[in-house]
Symmetry: C2
Subunit: 199 residues, 2 copies
């Protein structure tokens, strides 16, 4: 087998590790890339290298950016006072696509899980307490997935924040039982945010 | 919106152009890559850049390699005399996975199509005639997809080669009607090759 094939096989193996791509679709994707190596493969490799070098987690909220504090945390255009708590950066992106939330975010990095031994310290929950105490927060909106672990985590955070006097609300109508934010359309997210209720 | 987000959005847009990935799965893939930027994203960017720089079509058979002649065309281990004609490099890869063919290949680069105005000159058919005349070929195995265009192309090539006296065979049992080689399991391809019949 030639070096060419080994190089291409190595690329296929790496591509197959992406979510949503198996070995077969990875092969098809690599072949497509090779056919379009000037128009697609080279720009994609460059973009990937650029993001790999620049991307980092925001030290404040856990969002992804290119500096220690993300664009949302540092933006003067975002409204102070409201913090939207999400499980994952994908959920933050889903909220942003809805374009109905003007406040800032807090990305937990997962949910509490007894099964997987994920406690509050494994998530960004201590940091959330710190932000609520330090920043001028009046409302914490829990935009967690409507799963058992998501709702367990929401209850835990609501209790944790009870003594601080901050209003704790959660996304309400529109989030189907068992549904995950990242799979909802923008309109559903928008409706759920507008109809949010006190937790 | 920060530069970070624009860089990441640009990467998502490029990823969404891969076959099998839509905007949503491209976002998930990019997020996964960012989370694993050391272990996966950086190696993937490097592998992609490497293949983009090195890959080229074999001048003889149309296979993908890193030099003017591919590893299969130049390998002394491949048997002379048999040429397997396929539509696409993906089909060549599928044949190779079966590990039952020891000869060499000829990649047409598509099929004849009246609808899309693809004639013999748009494919590697003149080159196939040249190889049959120049190389010591005794058998041309037509491993084309069992689609209308694939079979039209097979008939055309069989007629073209009739005067040369070379044996023209085609994959037989095992290839389902309307089936595409790249979607078949290795056992099916192996059976079809062994039971090949004179075209
Ligand atoms: Zn931030
Ligand atoms: Zn070749």
């Amino acid at each position: 087998m030639s070096d060419a094939t080994r190089e291409i096989e190595a690329l296929i193996d790496l591509m197959a590790r992406l979510p949503g791509l198996g070995p077969r679709s990875a092969r098809r994707a690599v072949l497509h890339l090779i056919k379009k190596r000037g128009a697609l493969m080279r720009p994609l490799a460059d973009a990937m290298a650029g993001v790999a070098a620049a991307a980092r987690e925001c030290l404040n909220c856990g969002n992804i950016g290119t500096s220690d504090l993300c664009g949302i945390c540092t933006s003067a255009k975002r409204q102070n006072g409201q913090l939207c708590v999400v499980e994952d950066v994908a959920d933050l992106w889903a909220m942003e696509r809805g374009q109905v939330f003007a406040g800032r975010y807090h990305v937990l990095g997962g949910t509490l899980s007894a099964l997987d031994a994920v406690g509050p310290e494994e998530l960004r929950i201590p940091k959330l307490r710190e932000r609520v105490a330090r920043e001028d927060i009046t409302e914490v909106i829990l935009a967690l997935n409507a799963t058992v672990d998501g709702q367990t985590t929401a209850h835990y955070i609501a209790e944790e924040l009870e003594a601080t006097g901050v209003a704790v609300t959660s996304l309400a109508q529109g989030v189907p039982v068992g549904g995950e934010l990242d799979y909802l359309d923008d309109g559903t997210i928008s409706a759920a945010l507008k109809a949010r209720k006190t937790f």
